[in-house]
């Protein structure tokens, strides 16, 4: 299971990662080698730097100097989810600014100590993806949409006058 062989421990890479990430995470790095595609490269590549951590505890890594960087599909920026030990890892808790960094919309690391990245005080806290939850976004025609609920109120606000039957029937127009 554990991917750290004696040779790789002795090579010094183990100690480098151990100093940066701690013992448990270092062990995980080794263990992930066999099973997870994304971090498969990590073990073979060397030491990836953790560039930051968001409010949910997700850790973001960046590595431009991997061994096989230019050769095959490699992940140069990736996220290690805080809930990675759960049954399903989800992307629902990646905040917008980190999403932008991950997907190369933005190169500035949105960590609080980065002065290039602007954190306005009026910025709302990130709302995780609500799919499958009560707060999920619904299309306009859906019955759960805000408009559909409003539409029910329109029935009361409908203004009209009803037909008043006249005693003297109107003249026949076609005569």
């Amino acid at each position: 299971m554990v991917g750290w062989g004696i040779d790789s421990i002795l090579s010094g890479r183990f100690m480098k990662i151990f100093r940066m990430e701690g013992f448990i995470r270092t062990l995980e790095r080794g263990r992930i080698v066999r099973f997870r595609n994304i971090t498969d490269h990590v073990g073979s590549r060397g030491v990836a730097k953790c560039v930051g951590q968001d409010s949910y505890g997700n850790r973001y890594y960046e590595d431009f100097h991997g061994d096989d960087c230019n050769e095959s599909f490699v992940c140069q920026r990736w996220v290690e989810y805080a809930d990675r030990h759960d049954m399903w890892q989800t992307g629902r808790k990646v905040p917008a600014e980190w999403h932008a960094w991950l997907h190369r919309i933005n190169d500035d690391v949105p960590s609080p100590d980065n002065s290039n990245y602007h954190h306005p005080i009026y910025k709302r806290k990130h709302l995780p993806n609500q799919s499958g939850l009560p707060g999920a976004t619904v299309p306009l025609g859906d019955g759960r949409h805000e408009y559909a609920k409003q539409f029910q109120t329109y029935i009361k606000s409908r203004i009209y006058t009803s037909w008043e039957p006249q005693e003297n029937a109107p003249k026949k127009r076609y005569d």
């Binding site: 329109y154 409908r158 006058t161 037909w163 039957p165 127009r173």
Partner: protein, 705 residues
């Protein structure tokens, strides 16, 4: 002599037209455009926005607002983009400092005399001047003089004018001259004293006058019934279609809360371009008056008793169970959607009733083939035709939008228009062949002088008004028309042309014909039970005095005042439904506001009734009934599409004796033709203003807010 001829002919030669695309550079990016493009069109093709006020795609270029000026390299001055044609290798600069300064200068002059009343202007929020001044205007004004003031004009009850706001783009003038065909507006005075208006004071009268409001880039001409009721950002817009016009123009219904505030046209090149007529636009306020909102039963003394849906359907079921299917008769109304017609057809057939559409004034057409009853060369075919023979339709009143297209074709393609029927000022030159059916028989014999012109035409088009086919000898007249079509080679399947067209004036009729229902009226029959499905324009002598009449519809009109039992239905803005227009195009109407009171969509009522009768119809929701429609006619669920069909097959109408009477014009008042427009206060104002002699039986009521 020959040499002289050659010399002279040299002077008549013109340079050959450039057919190949040429390349111009807009802000450095090369664009390949047709040589007859203007710079503005080239910029639009390149995706560059050029601000403009006076330029409009469907109107002639005037170039008097000067807002679209751009810099062109190697030209000493800036040029107006809308009026300048492109030339090869032209380098257009729309983002240079010179251009910006020039636009700012023009904007400064436009704003010099424009009042600062945006907060109280109806155009606020959707105003071209507001938007463009935010982009190109200077921060401060430098003119300290007084702003000019202009007296407001009277454009009728539909268009409110605040002429001080006018920036003299002359779009309204060009619209009336070119599209509406009534050259009544113009400018007087020069410079600061310029005024747009009629030279001699009189009211502007056109069936398309509501479109002025859409054209006006500022708030000079605004929608009068909509004035000060809503702001554009408060509105909820529903993209729908309008079944009150038989071509079902695309419209945008703007609602605020549970009320329709206004109706605007949407772009649809093959149907309405971007115009709608005044009845489509303004008759919606009839949906607030005279509504049927509860089930009513007429008692013996003539008063009405209010029932719940359950009771009403039980009363109806009891009455139906008394009568056999042979004694039943139905009439399909004018604004019926396909869903209602199909549900009605299914229910009545289950009850054993064969005669579903027993109109005395129904069109005498066969539903066997689609080219028997549709506009076979399409509305856009008017622009391809070189001859149009209108039979028994006053296009200006029957379908003003089609009339605008005919006018466009007469101007651009030299369309030759002939008219049989009542003559009127149709806004273009036309030949009047005769008022009665004898003109038709003359054409068939070839003795009429117009016969030679008809013979020469390459793509002739015959447009038969529904009023002709509603006559008692409608089928005989139709057979004569078909023979004319055969003799003059109007139907040419080899060149994909069928020139035989029917212009319906009720979408309900087309929907009925599409599912195979034809109107059969038997004068000897005495039905004991009549079901009026939204029918108001029937003839009173169709209904026997002792018959039990059920009216299902929206308004308390002729149908409701005759009925014994009234079921409230939803109007076209209150239900989703598909409609077929005279073109054969199926289009989808959307629900914009809830129906009043207990009213329900028409097919839902019929479905509920079928359950009470024990003959349950096998559909529960809109999707299932549309599957049922697809079973009957698969093309009716292909929306905004005309299913192609064979042009050569058609049913030959039965020959008969043609009465040589005048083909009369059935629309006596354009503003009041149906139950909705008869209940509309705006339409009442219009017919009082424009049509005082024909304003009949409208009971004025204090409008509610």
């Amino acid at each position: 002599m020959l040499k002289l001829c050659q010399k002279i002919s040299r002077h008549f030669k013109t340079s050959s037209r450039l057919l190949n695309n040429i390349e111009v550079f807009v802000d450095g990016t090369p664009v390949s455009v047709a040589p007859d493009y203007s710079i503005l069109q080239a910029c639009q093709k390149a995706g560059v926005v050029v601000p403009h006020f006076c330029f409009h795609e469907r109107l002639a270029v005037s170039g008097n607002c000067r807002m679209c000026i751009v810099e062109i390299e190697k030209m000493p001055k800036v040029m107006t983009a809308c009026s300048m044609p492109v030339s090869p290798g032209m380098r257009i600069n729309t983002k240079s400092e010179k251009t910006y300064n020039a636009r700012g200068g023009v904007m400064e002059f436009l704003l010099a005399n424009h009042p600062l009343d945006c907060p109280i202007c109806d155009q606020g929020g959707e105003c071209d001047l507001q938007d463009q001044s935010a982009l190109y205007g200077y921060k401060i004004g430098r003119f300290m003089e007084y702003k000019r003031a202009v007296e407001d004009k009277n454009y009728g009850p539909l268009v409110a004018t605040v002429m001080t706001r006018c920036i003299h783009c002359t779009r309204c003038i060009r619209f009336y001259e070119e599209v509406a065909g009534i050259p009544i507006l113009g400018t007087t005075g020069r410079g600061r004293e310029t005024e747009v208006g009629t030279y001699v004071e009189k009211m502007v009268h056109s069936e398309l006058s509501g479109n002025l409001v859409d054209l006006c880039p500022v708030g000079a001409l605004t929608n009068a019934p909509y004035a000060f009721t809503a702001r554009p950002w408060e509105l909820r817009n529903v993209m729908s279609i309008d079944p009150t016009d038989s071509i079902t123009p695309s419209i945008e219904i703007s609602c605020k809360g549970g009320e329709v505030k206004r109706v605007l046209p949407r772009l649809h090149e093959e149907v309405n371009e971007e115009w709608i007529h005044d009845r489509s636009r303004h008759a919606f306020d009839g949906l607030k008056r005279q509504r049927l909102n509860a089930c009513l039963k007429k008692k013996a003394d003539g008063s009405y008793e209010e029932l719940t849906w359950k009771d009403a359907l039980e009363v109806l079921a009891e009455e139906v169970s008394k009568t056999s299917g042979n004694d039943m008769v139905g009439i399909i109304g004018e604004f019926m959607d396909v869903e209602a017609v199909v549900a009605f057809r299914d229910l009545m057939y289950k009850l054993g009733c064969e005669n579903i559409d027993a109109k005395k004034n129904g069109v005498k057409l066969s539903p066997d083939f689609r080219n028997n009853y549709l506009m076979n060369s399409r509305i856009s075919g008017i622009e391809e035709a070189d001859l149009l023979l209108v039979i028994g339709a006053n296009l200006r009143l029957d379908s003003p939008v089609i009339n605008a297209r005919v006018r466009k074709a007469t101007v651009l393609n030299g369309l030759n228009v002939g008219l049989i029927g009542t003559d009127d000022y149709l806004t273009y030159d036309h030949t009047h062949l005769g008022t009665s059916t004898s003109a038709l028989t003359d054409l068939l014999k070839g003795t009429h002088p117009f016969a030679k012109t008809l013979e020469k035409a390459k793509f002739p088009m015959i447009l038969v008004g529904a009023n002709v086919l509603k006559r008692e000898d409608g089928e005989a007249v139709n057979s004569v028309i078909q023979e004319i079509a055969k003799k003059y080679n109007v139907i040419k399947p080899e060149s994909n042309w069928n020139g035989y067209n029917v212009l319906h004036n009720e979408v309900g009729t087309v929907a009925a014909l599409e599912v195979g229902i034809t109107s059969e009226y038997d004068p000897k029959a005495k039905p004991k039970f009549m079901y009026l499905l939204g029918a108001d324009n029937f003839k009173p002598d169709e209904i026997p005095d002792d018959a039990f009449v059920v009216y299902q519809g929206t308004h308390g009109d002729e149908g409701a005042s005759r009925a014994n039992l009234i079921l409230p239905g939803a109007s076209y803005v209150e239900k989703s439904g598909s409609y077929v227009n005279t073109d054969g195009r199926v289009s989808l109407g959307k629900k914009a506001i809830p129906a009043p009171g207990q009213a329900k969509a028409d097919w839902e009522i019929l479905r509920a009734l079928s359950e009470v009768l024990g003959q349950t119809l096998p559909y529960d929701n809109l999707q299932e009934i549309r599957y049922r429609i697809a079973e009957l006619a698969p093309h009716l669920i292909k929306y905004d599409y005309v299913e192609p069909y064979s042009l050569s097959w058609h049913t030959v109408p039965v020959k008969g004796e043609v009465n040589k009477t005048v083909i009369s014009d059935f629309i006596d008042n354009f503003y009041m033709t149906d139950a909705i427009s008869r209940a509309s206060p705006t339409m009442a104002k219009c017919s009082e203003a424009f049509n005082p002699a024909r304003n009949t039986n409208f009971v004025p009521e204090v409008p509610i807010r």
